[in-house]
Assembly symmetry: C2
Homo-oligomer: 147 residues x 2
DNA sequence: GTAGGCAGTTAGGTATGCCTATTTTAGTGT
DNA sequence: ACACTAAAATAGGCATACCTAACTGCCTAC
């Protein structure tokens, strides 16, 4: 019973000189940063490093580092000592992540009856783990049940 | 809207001179190793490093490394160049992990109708993410539905 | 009894993601 | 104008979890 290779596995076979500008899926962590930036933008108009840090419960240097990666992929704009802005593409992805998050949370509260707060934190984790078409099963089950 | 601190966060506040022999929850990865060892033990009587490596799709050195950690926590017995055996405690945990895995898989296939193979790989990921009492909601929902 | 071969270990390295401590910068108040 | 402060960036580290390459030890076949 052979199990699939791990996600994080290091595959030096096909070397990839350039940084993963596009393509290559975002890590769970970077998705979280995008989602957090979206939320901070909404509540504060402009996103600043410290707000993002507070939102995610990480240190500011961690945010700075993540922003560098996201900027490298063209998902955020971020001038030194300046504000953080989602690019069009970054915004699109952030919305997508948020959509998944809400769908999962709805399932957990609506179908399973898990309390709000627990559903929230669980959704945070599930949203990075469920493949899109797997998530679709959750969504359509919830929908069928509502009908 | 403050989010909880990340799981992997480095918390040097309370220093911990000794290695995490007991206490401290196992990482997802180490749980996977325990589960894999259990399965290999069942199919081969004795677990060997290469079988565990094959089972998980990782290299042999990765297994050796993980075994060192698990042995340090008293969860496996592992003589250099010898067989790997789960201790009583390791066995208990491995069973628990497997139980969670199966419960999740049952939910995915039985309730949501997700196909076997996809349910299997999804369960692998969910099993490390769902808190015990959250999992209980999944289980009891499936049960209520069966009735 | 010894030579190979293969399982297993060690050595060393990469990637991610986080941290603290320290420095730099920009904006503000006087 | 300039000093101060608070935010942000660097520098340097640690933990986890992988990898490849190279070495070691065991066991078997001759």
């Amino acid at each position: 019973m052979k199990v699939l290779a791990r996600e994080g596995a290091h595959m030096p076979g096909e070397v990839q000189a350039l940084p993963p500008s596009q393509a290559e899926p975002l890590s769970a962590s970077l998705e979280d940063y995008l989602e957090a930036i979206l939320q901070v933008e909404r509540s504060s108009r402009v996103a600043r490093v410290s707000e993002i840090a507070d939102q995610l419960g990480v240190s500011r240097p961690s945010v700075t580092g993540a922003l560098k990666l996201l900027a490298g992929r063209g998902l955020v704009t971020h001038a030194r000592y300046g504000h953080v802005t989602l690019t069009e593409e970054g915004f699109r992805i952030a919305l997508e992540v948020e959509r998944r998050h809400l769908a999962i949370k709805d399932f957990l509260t609506g179908v399973l009856g898990i309390p709000e707060e627990r559903a929230e934190s669980t959704a945070c984790k599930l949203e990075h783990v469920l493949e899109p078409d797997t998530l679709a099963y959750f969504v359509s089950y919830a929908k069928g049940r509502r009908r």
